[in-house]
Subunit: 249 residues, 2 copies
């Protein structure tokens, strides 16, 4: 009887598994990952990246070491003054280097330069303290509300790095409940990434849009923005229809 | 004739290779790495680590932004003065927070605090400039000689972070040509890791030890250190002999 070697081979193929060096489970050809050499190389890369992260963190720790002391220091040379008269001390050199607005205030013949006092009236002590703290430490902040406030301050004083960090932070936290509010905020402060993320989420959930309180508030406050939402929704529907038509043809 | 299925199976096993998802080469059971799931997970981890590195680098860039401006700033409040009378300007708050020695000088009733001038006579302008620059930026330095000088300065002013960074940098560059000099330097400045690395390299190359000029210089200058080298060499030989004896038994 002639043996069917093809069938034999096929059976064997299915039975030969390899053991994953990482999770220790067996795997078959269809779910093969890497050879051992590439695995070892990748592990080394991961180790090196982790080492680099540790080094960078230690540099940051060193750089921000003086922040807490510096802001209490008698030898600060500028004050940021709030509307209730309370002050936050800082170093002119730090403010100047981080913000072109502070630079203009503190290098030219302006009242701020003569009095060494910058009046900031629209923010709370806590927010302003966090803002100055960020200029010294680049340390991230605890909650969304602070990120919104700091984005506005960063925009006002043109601290680009902080503005970007705040926008990323808020964008990563956009959800159904805050999408409309985030969209309006992003529009007001020209935050493109946040605007896109919020709009995309709103459009994905159009069926519940008009049931939301924030929606009606936005209709009252800024109907043009509501029109933008509907225009984007319509445009997406038209695109989807066009794609479907093409795939049918 | 009875077929030998075992032999057939063995042949097939050797022929079934899988393709590495990373290098695209085929591999066999004996050089199997990971399954696809683990490979994908590892790739994601790598991406995340790289992202974290980018973020940390951007924080560092933001933190050290003021360094170049700050050190030229008219509003610095301390000077480091070299023996030729030249000065490097700095901020009291930065020096105090990075060095307990500067802190003691600038916070107590000492001459340095009254005159706001710290005299540093044993170093060149270039080295002192790099030292102050490091306090503001945590930026690494270009060459070994600078690392040696900065380690000595960091030791004198107790800037631990910089001391560690310098020691790592020098240790990573120990070779046959500088091992004896590095060993002597490490001994003098109590740099344990550097000392171990240098000693280990010297012992590996004992056959050329006495041919080296630095060896004879060390015999003249600090014979106790040379004794330490021989003691370590002897101890290593005794250990190796003991291990060999055990393996024979």
């Amino acid at each position: 009887m002639a043996r069917d070697y093809g069938e034999e081979w096929g059976k064997t193929m299915r039975m030969v598994n390899m053991t994953c060096i990482s999770c220790k489970d067996e795997y078959t050809t269809s779910s093969a990952g890497t050879c051992r050499e590439c695995y070892e190389e990748a592990s080394e890369t991961e180790e090196e990246l982790k080492k680099e992260i540790e080094e960078l963190k230690s540099r940051i720790a060193f750089l921000k070491m003086w922040a807490s002391e510096a802001m209490l220091d008698d030898y600060t040379d500028v004050s940021l003054q709030l509307s209730d008269g309370s002050k936050i001390k800082a170093h002119r050199a730090v403010l100047i280097s981080k913000s072109p607005v502070f630079k203009a205030m503190l290098e030219n013949e302006m009242e701020e330069n003569r009095t060494r006092t910058i009046k900031i009236t629209d923010f709370s002590y806590e927010v302003l303290r966090s803002f100055v703290h960020y200029l010294y430490t680049a340390e991230t902040f605890p909650d969304e509300q602070m990120a919104y406030d700091l984005l506005v301050l960063a925009e006002k004083y043109q601290v680009k790095h902080l503005r970007t960090v705040c926008e990323k932070f808020i964008t990563s936290r956009v959800n159904n409940d805050n999408a409309i509010m985030s969209f309006a905020f992003a529009h007001q402060h020209n935050a493109k990434h946040l605007r896109e993320a919020a709009l995309s989420l709103i459009i994905e959930n159009m069926n519940t849009l008009t049931t939301r309180e924030e929606y009606h508030e936005l209709v009252d406050k800024d109907p043009r923005l509501v029109v933008e939402i509907y225009e984007s929704y319509l445009s997406k529907q038209v695109n989807t229809a066009a794609k479907e038509a093409t795939s049918i043809c």
